[in-house]
Subunit: 160 residues, 12 copies
């Protein structure tokens, strides 16, 4: 199909390009986050199984919702988003999540770490998008607000 630009962007070419790349990188992070959360949801074992199992489903819901918002924001800017499995596997910014059964403690540490990584990259994009598109910046801020809250709730379990 030869449609290069079916959607008129409200941004100039430069801002569209820069903002589009930040949205694409965020999309990949969020899809990976929800796949990792589901993987942990199915493979966690230990006394806190149910606590972690249920808590992860909240995270799945959050990550899926924001992935949709981010991809549709890219489309609205005239930028084709890419959320296919291979793209996610090759471009995600998250640390590798090991396969097989995992203890509740291991899962809690891994999710806390994953959230911190995603948030740190988001904060850089909040600064950059201030100059290219304040509307997109507002979306990044919404995501950061929620994920920083999720991060607190997971890290709070590691205190002892």
């Amino acid at each position: 199909m030869a449609h290069k630009a079916p959607i008129t962007s409200p941004l100039n070419d430069q801002d569209q390009d820069t903002t589009g790349k930040m949205l694409q990188a965020t999309l990949v992070d969020l899809i990976d986050l929800h796949l990792v959360a589901k993987q942990a949801h199915w493979n966690v074992v230990g006394r806190f199984f149910r606590d972690v199992h249920l808590h992860l489903d909240e995270l799945v819901t959050v990550a899926r919702g924001f992935a949709d918002d981010v991809a549709e924001r890219a489309s609205a800017l005239g930028v084709s988003p890419d959320g296919r499995a291979r793209t996610v596997a090759e471009n995600s910014g998250l640390s590798k999540f090991e396969g097989d059964w995992r203890s509740d403690r291991e899962v809690t540490e891994a999710i806390t770490q994953a959230l911190l990584e995603v948030v740190r990259r988001l904060r850089v994009r909040i600064d950059e998008s201030d100059k290219t598109d304040q509307v997109t910046q507002d979306l990044f801020i919404d995501i950061a607000r929620e994920l920083e809250k999720q991060h607190w709730m997971w890290e709070a379990k590691l205190a002892s």
Copy 2:
């Protein structure tokens, strides 16, 4: 973590192994199906944009629900399921879905084809699981019933 078998299987080793592999293969197909459906949901253009955009969300819901059922069925059999991005990228049985904007016709053809592929592999597993685990077979039958219905609805749009 050294937990090799934290969950007692209701099946003997042989049946557990065979059934587990079928579930793992189905899981990968279904996760890929929902990622492809979301990709199409964001990138479709053309007169039928809204029709296809909304129809795809039904498919996403169906695929996500069954992926969860399948992975948790594996866990219940004492088999650790693997639904991480790289595993999906390397093992999915679906044809490649091209990136970039796609016309409504292209999307409709690709989804029809993807559903047919998933259903065909499922029908083989329905036959095999008859000998290893009728409980899992019942789940495969449920999935096939729904996906064959979805397939009809997508293919019906291609008649002209």
Copy 3:
């Protein structure tokens, strides 16, 4: 219109033909069942009027839902379903339901009888579909489970 086969069947021609005929026969029975149930709903009189009137609406809902499932199963197999009034009038397997006002006792007997007839034909199709399409068989089993339950509830009223 010349569309003979717009939908690709997951079955071979022979199984498609046999299964399709069983689905068509079931569809006709279920549509007639719901028309008869509505007819009784409007024409019943007697002390148990309200009991029977309300009970029949449950049956209408059940019969309508399964008729839809059966017809869409046929479509999914690439077989065009036929649920028009004349087709139903000429092919239904139910005994004739007399017109005019009917006593609550007469209605209860007629509905009990109708359910028994539909269930008996379904049990034959459950056996046959085991060889042609287990996915369709699963649907026949679901219908039989529910209609045998309904049959018990109606026949229980006839004990004295």
Copy 4:
């Protein structure tokens, strides 16, 4: 059963007879309309499959609801309504709806035509019932208001 007149009519014999016949004719039209709409719902194919498939379910709901109102209005007037398959097949005022798969265009034309036919017969009954029973007339007016709206929505698709 010998119950000729279990229900006391609020009308005199003449008005009861005339009004009862109009209700019976309307009942048959509406049952046929919903059977035809379901038939089309299952057999439509073409690019507009989903649009037509969903739109028809609205019509099914409307037709079923009014059929119930009309039949119960007859009962309330002491007239036994008849909605059995054979009665519908032999007395419906709708044009024949062909079997087999139908294109979306063919279905849209047939439904538009069917609605027009039902509405035209209703308008005659609105005039007649003005003299026999204004309460029944009010029901005919409600049905006409809704079906004329449905007719507009289907015919609007045929403009080009």
Copy 5:
């Protein structure tokens, strides 16, 4: 308080007076109907206790709703409605409902009779209001349609 006419009527004085009297008479009938229905709801005994007890609550809901509509219609016409206990006791058109425990059969007969009485008076008012206020007439028709339906359902229980 000296407010004789705080509300501007959309009708001329003559029509307002005639219509207002019909509304007041209907209000009294409907309040009495719901008090009688409640009385029966509490005092019915016999094998059909639960059938009658539950059926009466539907009637209570219907009667209360219409009483409110009728009283507010009077207010909207600038006519003060009167629904106090003494006014109801002295002006209701319903036959006396005996106190103490009542058999299910007695209650069914009394309610059937009460509905017939209310409906008959309503039909006279439908004719009269055609000349004074068609908006009020439409309300009377709505009430008659529902109460004639209720009447059928109660009388149907008396057939044997």
Copy 6:
């Protein structure tokens, strides 16, 4: 009908008689209260029309609910309750509520007064029922708790 005592009372004859009379008196008060509240709901005029109109509907709901509880409590004790219009008109303990349009201030004063009257009679019955039936007493206490709250809310509007 000759049923003098179809319901076995959990109380002895003396306590049943005393408690039954208190319940009957409360029933009459509550039915009158809801009829008065509806009367005011329709006839109030003045700047606070909407405030009072909506507030009265809360009172109607409360009074109807408790009237039902009280009457069914009498039935449960084997005492036939009497809530017919004439019984209410002749036995209610409430002051007369004048007909015709009423100012918002007049209505507020009348309702405040009516609530005070009902509550005062209830408090006497709470004391008496302590000796005859603590289960009925608990119901009187529930009613008093709610009506004293309603009373405060109406009287609060009279402060100035």
Copy 7:
């Protein structure tokens, strides 16, 4: 676009023309009514601010719903409705509503007046449509019934 008559009218040309004009005039009144109600909703001040602010939102909901019904009734008759801002500004039958902040009393008087104006024009159309289209007349009656009720509630606040 050259579509002069894409929708087949159930009326003859004369009745269609007359009825269509009445519907168009009603549409303009109702759109203006809801714009005025929103204007007042935002600009009212005074002790009764909240009472009036909330009451107006009910009116907005009522006016919007009927505007939709009226416009779609025109479409169903094959008459193109016109509800654009300029058409409303130039053809509305309502008195001018002044801009800037308005006291609660001023708003109450203006809304009461506006409702009276709309109702009076509606009553003329109810009479006229009796001869051209009883189905449309039924819609006009529904609107009048509701708006006369709203009018009473607003005017009741002006009594003092």
Copy 8:
């Protein structure tokens, strides 16, 4: 009462007898399972009190629902089900659950064990019912699918 066989069975005598016994044994297991789950729900103590307390209520809901399905399936086959306390106490296949307060660990082990026992017996019945009644077999498969999932969730807590 002399009713030996008020319900006509869709099975022959032999299959009815064998299937009926399996259903009766399953019913007893499921009722005991829900009584044990409630007992644990009330008596568990320890750091995981709330986790276990809430998790048990899910199991209660599952067990109650299936007990109802199983008993009504027996009735539908013309076999009288027996779910009385003494029958359960004497025939349940579950290990004894000790009285008094129980630690969260003890409860988790006991529930895991109970689920394993019920599932093992169910798997035997799935095999047997394949020959006597596939409709009942389908119900056993549904129960096994859900209870094997519950078993995994409880056993996962025991891994460490």
Copy 9:
């Protein structure tokens, strides 16, 4: 497990002991009541099948809810409740409910009798708990209020 008293009681030892025994006895009665109600729900036959079948489910809901309240009240007082099948079978105060199919009349008599038995024992405990724990007494009163109402509704069916 050695936890003899993990929960601090708000009562002194004597009152805790007396109140605890009353709660335990009530718990056993209520669990048996709901098992008997379910048994009857499945085994009733006769013209009133549906009436009794549905009515029993209300009783099941009531009995289950109160059993939970009573057991948790015991726990709150530091007394371990015992609701296991054998404990219920050996300690219930209800008359034996015969197995096998039962006529609607037999069931109605048995349930009426069972409710009377439970209520009579409850009334003794209301008196006793007045001296040991008014908070528990309030719970007993709530249960008695509801069960006496249920009793009336069942006994009302026996009047003739």
Copy 10:
């Protein structure tokens, strides 16, 4: 009425004035947008009638909601908003929407264009309000985010 400034503004006079003008201009655009969307909703014809008809109602809901937010934001800043028909007709920034029936393609192009116009003006106001009131800016950003998304969905239909 002489109320010039009944509401204390949180802004200084200059910022209040500038921000107030931007809000007023946005209000007019949004009211016109929803009137145009409704106009199109009623007048669209063509194969995509239903797709466009339903899609427009989403836009109506969005535009109405934001119009309310914007007007109430003005009020909160002490600026009287003006949303009357004439003000909208004379000040809207949208291109004229032609009357009469319109094809689905024409409507799609007009709505896409209208959304682009509204978004472009909003982006200027986002920049300006950054200096006068960041709270209002946040509202403008929310509106732009949603309308840019809506714009994408409409323009996507024009690609071919």
Copy 11:
């Protein structure tokens, strides 16, 4: 404001004074309880973070609801309630809850202790109010029933 007694009390002066003081003391305890519960909700850390965090929100809901009931009960008795921050800080009967992050164990102990303190004071007031106002006593009993249940659930976590 000089309103000393705008609300007529149903109690004599002495009882009003005594009961009012008990209600005021209870109000202060309950407000402090919900502030402490919220404080713990935000500051808890440790493995049981989520368990405690969620459990505390149930307590917040309970405490807020009862605080409202208690304050409105005081108003209904003509006693002005005082729930301001300083009043709570100076009069609460709860032990001090330390600031800063708190471990899950510390929080569980503190909440268990707080509930015990509140319950003990309530039990004294239940005894006293028996002589001054049984309606208020009933409210105190309701609160004690619920808080004793909450206390059990928190203390159960401390058993080990």
Copy 12:
């Protein structure tokens, strides 16, 4: 407990410190606002009692929701929030709210004033947080937007 910093902050120490103090100050204001609103809810008297009583509950809901958001934002930044009664009493920025019954006018003035105070402090924090944490700033902006709207609605009642 020695946990000084269990939560990793996404901010550097300086920004964390400054932002944390602003959040703490906002938390105290919002808790005080909701306690004051509840105090007024219980103590208001006068003709506008119900208007003010209901309006205050909206404010309570708003203030509670934002207090929770603000406290959890502090936690997410690694700053322990303090919302205890004494902290609120000593640090709130609101003017003192007098005890005892208050007239509706006094309450309206006090709430209008309180909202203005909270908003003014928030606007300073919006400016400051622009430099320390834009995510927190976004939360402050959301709160200001809502409270400025609430302020308008309360102040609008004071215009006359």
